[in-house]
Amino acid sequence: MKFRTLLRHFRESFKNIGRNGWMTFASVSAVTVTLTLVGVFLVLMMNLNHIAGNVEKDVEVRAHIDNAANDDDIKAIGKKITEMSGIETVIFSPKDEELTNLIDDLGDNGDAFKPFEQDNPLRDVYIIKTKSPQDVIKVAKKIEGFEYIQSVKYGQGYVEKLFSFVNIARNIGIVLIVGLLFTAMFLISNTIKITIVARRKEIEIMRLVGATNNFIRWPFFLEGLWLGILGSIVPIGLISVLYYNIYKYVAPQITFKFIDFLPASPFIYQISAILIVIGAVIGIWGSLMSVRKFLKV
């Protein structure tokens, strides 16, 4: 292909955007609407995933140390735990601190236990966080076997349920987002297909006056690209502005421990990139797929 022909294809693809006015509009608006949907869900899902990660990270192993252990034994245990694989942090919490915490946790009821401060019935505790939350159970089981460990707590029952809950939520999220992506692909390419089928006479005529398949395909390829890009402008703008404002004004007012949002700065750019790529790829794909069947005859 000569360079001037490539130029011609670019020129032609722009002209076609105008020539097929309402069809362009219909395709672009289908892309716009679908990508907005995909974008909103991506934002929600990625943030939920982030929050789920926070929730999981909060899980810790509490190793209660037998009163029989002396300071050296305790230090030895601490060292041994630190040296295990997959450990993130190991914090020592002496029994006095444990009691204070307990009393604080119980609130008003706790006051009743104040007398115990003289004769603390609790144990010293190592609080361990693992690098991967899923390791918690394995680590707990191992520590249980150590000397001078009276008992190991990691919210048995609770942690398993939490993990399976977070997993269900994540899987539903993934299924939804993948389903949504396929839906978007289908809907966009369906729309593009109809507009191109409406132009099948045009393609037929082009072939009749000697245009090769590639010659016909090029402007359609470029048109698909422009459609995709044009269609992703509004969703990108909308989601960026909304997310930026939510992150800036709404997020700080939500005071739950686990709920924090992905920082706007790289996230908006990531989402924008994802959306424009999806738009362009589906636009091109839809366009080429639709032209294809009219090039066979």
Partner: protein
Amino acid sequence: MIEMIDVKKTYPNGVIAINGLNVKIKPGEFVYVVGPSGAGKSTFIKMMYREEKPTSGNILVNGVSLPSIRNSKVPLFRRNIGMVFQDFKLLQTFTVYENVAFAMEVIEKEPEEIKKRVMEVLDLVGIKHKARMLPSELSGGEQQRVAIARSIVNDPKVVIADEPTGNLDPETSWEIMNIFEEINNRGTTLVMATHNRDIVNNIKRRVIAIESGKIVRDEHRGDYGYEI
């Protein structure tokens, strides 16, 4: 140049449009194809540029065997043929100028050459002043002339025209025929289906008469032949 051997064409709906046809057209010939409505003239012509494939038999055009040519090669083959379709087949979203220029862009001509040549042929058929209009803004005859302009813009070796004067008044028809005669004199083969008795009887050339998908007459300098 153009040769058909035992050609038959049955459309998918069972209509037999061409029923055993042999013909040979030499380079530089000027051939009228005549016959009643529905006789198979358009089908005969469509097979020459492979808009339709024959059901059986063989067709050779410029040495190319059309039934066996690969689909992707068809456009390249068509570049040597100028075609005027009975229903014009203009690109509706393209202007008159763009419609004619398209046939030149396809063979990657230089933009300056395209510009010059397109305006030249549009002038020839008398619609230069409508170059910027869309086909839907033209009268029937004007559209037909755009189709004619497109068919000759690349100086093809063969021009195949299906009732190129069906929508034209006699005067314009004669102008078009003058153009066709001129390009034929320059060596271009011309095949033309027509109902125009005046033209056939006045510009005497080879006449092929088709009836019910068969050649019933083939005369060197023939008459239109169907009397009123």
